[in-house]
């Protein structure tokens, strides 16, 4: 860490200090400082300037500290930025406040100054800017790897030719490939910026090539500026112009990728919302208008689980979402079974009547939730492990949306397995295809009906867990998904999970693709109209069921 270029006795002593017995050497250092003649101290003790009340002196002192480096430079500058650096009213002693105690700024040893004589070192914007630049410069050589990388990025973004020496210094010291690359970009950017030292055309064009390879908005900005920079070689300017258009093309491609990602994440929400319907509507022929409310109840279950976990075991708070998944499935599944036994079973064979009855049910469920938890949104927090994002090339991938996509795929896979590989799935298909014969074979059809509806409802609950992470959780949550969900099921082809998948993906990506062309709302309208028209041509959706069993 202390492996840095240093100059002057103070810095040398400082390095020893850093490595070993602090107390003794601090004493030596202090005595050294005191016996030095004043003129020499002004040159070598860059900290002295901080003890003045002149902003200009403080700022130039900051620059000096940054140039000299040394182990005390960063702590002092940070203390200055945090307003924790204090100067004695007499002399130039400096102290850093550490909570209730103090340490000497120059040496870092604990000190007990007379607090009544201390005044904070003043900071204005100029000083603040100087501190930021100095910190970047210092971190570049002495920070942790992450700090170095961040500083290098700061250099790149500021691309101030005055920083070229610092960049070169850092380049000579680093072996880290990523850091080196960022530094080279910063170097190229600085070379192309106004005020750069004169360089030959070849070096300039190499710089252009480097930035072109780097890509991104920053590089585009620097290159666009360079293409109009009179002091640069004409060939360089032309190359910069070409590089700008090539970066623009790249950016547009990444933009498509970004839209596709958002579209797929939107599609996976639709898929989750529609999968339960694909069971209740597609398999059972029940139009469950309360499906959205089951999602809403799933979201509220997530919220309640979170509250319960926080009150019982606050340490596990960030994992309440994991617990909410089975909880929501069970709550909504059980509710679904109750609904089937209490309402739906009287209405089999009359799909339009199920529509009306479940619409009534949805109104009641909304009002129940409103009466219990109030009409406003409840706050479901996103756990830390789901927040944030990372870059995949030029695509920003937000982790919560990625998680929902994975979740949708897992639920879909699970559902397919249940339908294909379990006795319940077998019985469900048997009852769907020929209820009487299934009953004669000993299948308890009523029980299968209830379980099937419970399964569809449970999946609605799972969708609710997912939606709670990206949408407002309020009693109206269900309403905003019900029309889309039905469209997905009908568009995909009733009774076909793969159709549901395809329809959800098409609607999600289609919506995102139309958005930049015609705007969000018009895109949605256009999509609705397109689906309506599509259904005219293909009344049974994209993947219609075929065969004798299908009603005309």
């Amino acid at each position: 860490m202390a492996d840095v270029a240093m100059s002057g006795p103070a810095a040398l002593s400082g390095r020893k200090l850093w490595n070993g017995a602090r107390g003794i050497f601090a004493a030596v250092l202090l005595s050294l400082l005191f016996i030095q003649p004043d003129s020499a101290r002004a040159d070598e003790d860059a900290f002295a300037g901080l003890a003045t009340t002149q902003f200009n002196t403080i700022a130039s002192s900051v620059d000096q500290i940054a140039q000299q480096g040394g182990p005390r430079a960063l702590p002092v500058l940070r203390a200055l930025a945090d307003k924790k650096l204090f100067a004695a009213s007499e002399g130039d002693a400096l102290f850093i406040r550490k909570g209730d105690s103090w340490e000497d700024a120059r040496s870092g040893v604990p000190a007990t100054p007379d607090e009544t004589t201390l005044r904070p070192v003043r900071v204005n914007n100029r000083v603040r800017l100087a501190v930021a630049a100095a910190e970047a410069e210092l971190e570049l050589v002495s920070g942790t790897p992450a700090e170095r990388q961040a500083s290098a990025t700061v250099f790149y973004q500021r691309h101030d030719p005055a920083m070229l020496p610092a960049i070169d210094k850092a380049l000579s010291k680093t072996d880290d490939a990523t850091l080196k690359d960022t530094l080279l970009n910063a170097r190229a950017a600085a070379l192309l910026s106004p005020g750069a030292p004169a360089s030959d055309a070849q070096a300039q064009q190499q710089a252009v090539a480097k930035l072109r390879a780097a890509g991104g908005l920053d590089a585009r900005g620097i290159l666009a500026q360079a293409s109009t920079e009179e002091t640069l070689d004409p060939a360089t300017r032309k190359a910069a112009e070409e590089a700008v258009s090539s970066i623009d093309f790249e950016l547009r491609l990444w933009g498509f990728g970004q839209d596709a990602f958002y579209g797929m994440s939107l599609g996976s929400v639709l898929l989750l919302a529609a999968m339960g319907l694909a069971i209740t509507f597609g398999v059972m022929g029940v139009i469950n208008m309360a499906h959205g409310e089951l999602m809403m109840i799933g979201a509220y279950t997530t919220w309640l689980t979170q509250k319960a976990v926080l009150s019982v075991a606050p340490a596990l708070g960030s994992f309440s979402l994991v617990l909410a998944i089975p909880a929501a499935f069970l709550v909504c599944g059980a509710l679904g079974i109750v609904i089937e036994r209490g309402l739906i079973r009287f209405l089999y064979g009359r799909p339009l009547e199920t529509l009306l009855a479940t619409w009534g049910l949805s109104l009641i469920l909304q009002q129940v939730i409103r009466s219990l938890f109030g009409p406003t949104n409840v706050a479901v927090t996103t756990p830390p492990w789901l927040s944030g994002s990372f870059h995949l090339g030029g695509i920003e991938v937000t982790i919560d949306r990625l998680a929902i996509m994975i979740f949708a795929v897992v639920v879909m896979a699970g559902l397919t397995l249940v339908l294909r590989r379990t006795p319940l799935g077998l019985q469900m298909r048997a009852v769907t295809q020929n209820r009487r014969m299934a009953a004669l074979m000993g299948i308890r059809t009523a029980r299968v009906d209830a379980l099937t509806f419970g399964l569809g409802s449970g999946i609605a609950g799972l969708a609710g867990v997912a939606v709670s992470q990206i949408d407002n959780v309020s009693p109206n949550l269900g309403q905003s998904y019900i029309i889309d969900s039905f469209l997905v099921v009908v568009f995909g082809g009733v009774g076909n999970l793969w159709g549901t998948l395809a329809a959800a993906a098409t609607l999600g990506i289609g919506g995102k693709a139309l958005e930049p062309l015609v705007g969000a709302v018009s895109g949605k309208i256009l999509l609705l109209v397109l689906v309506i028209l599509y259904i005219q041509r293909h009344p049974r959706g994209m993947f219609p069921l075929r065969g004798r069993g299908v009603e005309s």
Partner: protein
Amino acid sequence: MNASLSFRGASVTAVIVVLLTGVLAVGSLLPASSPVQVSPFIMTLAGKYLAYAMLALAVDLVWGFAGILTLGHAAFFALGGYAMGMYLVREIGARGVYGNADLPDFMVFLSWKSLPWYWWGSDHFPVALALMLVVPAALAGLFGWLAFRSRVSGVYLSIITQALTYALMLAFFQNGFGFGGNNGLTDFKDILGFDLHSSYTRAGMLFISGLILAGALLAGRYVVGGRFGSLLIAVRDAESRTRFLGYRPEQMKLLVWVFSAIIAAIGGALYVIQVGIINPGEFAPANSIEAVIWVAVGGRGTLSGAVIGAILVNLGKTLFTAWLPEMWLYGLGALFMATTLFLPQGLMGLMRHIPKKRPSEVTPEVTSPEGEEA
């Protein structure tokens, strides 16, 4: 025989509607001191109920007789309302907030310079009437032609009608669409020179609404009462069989669909005149579904039932939301469930049981189309 019963019912209902609105209209003109004076509040409510009754009648024509469960009929209602609203907004003229004689207030507010082309002529009442009838009819015609020709039916049709009204709602919510965006059209002053706030105009409008509703009942009775009605019921109960007999179900459906859209649109126009506002919320899919439940409560397949259902449910809504606002959604929800579970023929079906008709004689009229088609 059931048919004849319900059709006689239709003319009885028509007469009752005209008499009632007449009484209300006269009552509203009495001096405020009179104990039987009808307040403007009640007049507005009555006007609203009549407009909703028109919508219910329209839904009943397609759902009760042709078996098309529409979840988007409020779209035609709202389109008719907007056509009338356009005329009423232009009637305000220079009396608006911004005092602009050529542009409605909201366009001035959005700094539009001239009227969009689709507003041309909207200041003439005949043009407004034509718009009110032609636009919903054209949309219904196009939609129905596409849907019925490609035999989209049952649930699929229901869901795309819902998507249709949803799309229209999104469109009308946009400021750029040119119909006042979120706020819709309001602040109307007068119609054909009559002050909309005067009690005489209100009384007249209510009576005219009553006459129009009665006329719609009789027209509906004429359309579905004769041979065409029997064929419609045949289509509803067994579409394939009717087709195999050589009829063209899609044409009959289209005809009754467009007719019904026009009735709904007239209802929307009456609504706007008497309630004084139209906004994109009228396109909300929930409104269409509520209209279906009015019909279900009153009695699907009986014209009077639709009118009675609409008035009773809305009366209930008015009372409930005034007394126990929390309870209204419970009440409406329970009504939906109870009607489908226990009253598949609605209140009219209940009434029919009183003269000791055996259920078997009644059932054919309410058999759902899906059951018989397979």
